[in-house]
């Protein structure tokens, strides 16, 4: 039954462009009525995965189902039920903003009130402006309006807040939250951790086309009791440093070497742990340059999983 099916089910998806593997055995599920973020650095395979869900690309291997339907073979049944916001553009250069929105509304059976929608998205003032003269942020907001105007069950938004000013970003977040509360499934790609952390019920982190972690923001950052200690030293660590520190701290605590002069300690960052870290430094004869305490965030998670920064 398609109604019991998850919003999105990707299973063993492989997509290649020539020699380059864009998506590598990716499997993930999006539950209905959630905001699910697909998080990853540029080139991780986010857009390719999304475009496969939208029926633009046929899976080279594996299967993709959206609302239980095959996005390629059952395109006709699926398209009216989804809303898509593309990365950039998608309108005639000479079309006026509201004219474009009205046009997309006319293709649907029960469109939203376009004037209300435009007001909500701050498009009121640029309604008569030709598309090519809209600012990047206005084009993004019009793109979002076009994705929503048909009252879809599920919306795919690709980097929705790229190019938006901070206020538009917050309004967009608020709006996506309202959509979820009304029962709309929101699938978004982003490389902003704060966006994913604030907005998403569930996060799939992908890198090099592979799923490397999934969970709620809280699960991924393991709640408020977990914190991090970043240790930066003046000279490179002696060989085997992470292991000896790990031994000194005990099992509940993870030690990740970030580079030759800094490492990340993840676990309950209490006074005992802190004392042990500085005791270890003394025993190893290394001089701490800085010792920073912090809440573990998605950026740390990503760094630990991939050894790379999320945003270049």
């Amino acid at each position: 039954m398609s109604d019991a099916a998850p919003a999105v089910a990707v299973d063993g998806l492989v997509m290649r462009y020539g020699d380059k593997v864009a998506v590598d055995e990716l499997s993930l599920t999006v539950d209905r009525g959630t905001i699910t973020a697909v998080l990853g650095p540029n080139g991780a395979g986010k857009t390719t995965t999304l475009e496969t869900c939208e029926g633009y690309r046929r899976p080279q291997r594996g299967t993709v189902r959206v609302l239980g339907l095959d996005p390629v073979a059952q395109r006709k049944d699926l398209l009216p039920r989804i809303g898509v916001m593309l990365q950039g553009s998608g309108a005639w250069s000479g079309v006026r903003a509201m004219e474009m929105l009205r046009h997309v509304a006319r293709l649907h059976a029960h469109p939203m009130d376009v004037d209300l929608l435009a007001e909500r998205l701050g498009l009121g003032e640029c309604g008569r402006t030709p598309y090519r003269r809209l600012s990047g942020g206005q084009q993004q907001r019009l793109g979002l309006a076009m994705a929503l105007v048909g009252r879809p069950e599920i919306v795919f938004v690709d980097e929705p807040t790229a190019g938006m000013d901070p206020q538009s970003r917050r309004t967009t977040w608020e709006l996506l939250g309202e959509l979820r509360d009304a029962g709309v499934t929101v699938v978004l790609t982003t490389h902003y951790m704060d966006e994913a952390e604030r907005l998403a019920d569930r996060i799939h982190i992908i890198d090099h086309g592979r799923l490397i972690a999934s969970g709620s923001p809280v699960q991924l950052t393991r709640g408020g009791t977990v914190a991090t200690i970043r240790l930066v030293v003046s000279r490179p660590f002696p060989p085997g440093a992470p292991d000896s520190l790990r031994a000194a701290l005990g099992e509940a605590i993870e030690v990740t070497l970030l580079d030759e002069v800094s490492l990340l300690v993840t676990g309950p960052a209490d006074a005992t742990t802190l004392a042990k870290v500085s005791g270890w430094c003394e025993a190893q004869g290394v001089l701490p340059e800085s010792l920073t305490l912090g809440q573990r965030n998605l950026e740390d998670v990503f760094l630990e999983l991939t050894g790379r920064e999320l945003q270049p």
Binding site: S89, G90, L107, H108, M112, G122, Q167
Partner: protein
């Protein structure tokens, strides 16, 4: 995004569904027709150039004493109507579609409820609407200049079939061009082909005016369309060979387009 007023409540409850096919086609057709007529260059191509050609050809024929089978206005008007069809169905359509690919409009519409059949039907609807306008303007100018077209069933049916098959043939070829070249290359090629066919394609001048070359150009879509229009509106008869030639070009263009068209 207003800062002062409290956030209005919006009902986002899903209620998906596509509009009926015919409403979608109507929306798409009116959108495309409006965009076509809004564009200055396209309007020039659609109406102004044909009218200039008509007036220029009639005045010029009086001076250089071209050997025509009838009055200049009666011979040239059907050809200018054919030119107008060519400008819209081929050049305007190719350029518009080329830029739709470039700007991601086709990609965007690809995730809307509008199916490809609806997109195509919408384009045809827009072409027909613009052509109706062109025919009205050109006919009015021609009648004012003393045009006396043939009447009767043969004339009306012949002209309608010629416009219909000519539109199909040129639209299919225009889409082939737009779907395989980059937008800028499409723009250049569509205009170049238009100019070449206008000058040497037996659209406005009958194929017989090209001497022995006329045996070749009458098989071009331009020559076939011009010939069919002249047979209908000068002699009041159907031109089976020319109409079949147009149908043949329509099939060739459609096959080429279906095989090569790239949506992005």
């Amino acid at each position: 995004m207003s800062t002062t007023s409290p956030t209005p409540t919006t009902d986002w409850t899903p209620r998906p569904g596509g509009a009926p096919w015919l409403s979608q086609v109507r929306a798409q057709a009116s959108m495309e027709a409006r965009l076509m007529l809004r564009n200055g260059e396209q309007l020039l191509l659609a109406v102004v150039i044909p009218v200039i050609v008509l007036v220029g050809a009639v005045k010029g024929a009086d001076r250089v004493d071209l050997e025509l089978t009838g009055r200049a206005i009666d011979v040239f008007t059907p050809g200018v109507l054919a030119l107008a069809v060519m400008s819209t169905a081929f050049t305007s359509l190719a350029i518009a579609t080329g830029f739709e690919r470039r700007y991601g409009v086709l990609k965007r519409l690809g995730t809307s409820p509008l199916p490809r059949s609806g997109l195509l039907a919408g384009k045809v609807g827009a072409l027909v609407a613009v052509e109706a306008l062109q025919v009205a303007v050109i006919s009015a100018v021609a009648l004012a200049m003393g045009w006396d077209p043939a009447g009767g069933v043969g004339a009306v049916l012949g002209a309608l079939l010629a416009v219909l098959l000519g539109t199909a043939a040129f639209a299919a070829l225009g889409l082939f061009l737009a779907g395989s070249l980059r937008a800028e290359a499409t723009l250049a090629a569509a205009n170049l082909v238009y100019l070449l066919l206008m000058a040497g394609g037996a659209v406005v001048l009958p194929a017989s005016a090209y001497g022995s070359f006329g045996d070749v150009v009458q098989w071009l879509p331009s020559g076939a369309l011009g010939g069919a229009m002249r047979d209908a509106l000068v002699d009041g008869v159907l031109a089976p060979v020319a109409l079949l030639t147009l149908a043949g070009w329509a099939v060739v263009g459609t096959v080429l387009t279906a095989r090569t068209f790239k949506w992005e």
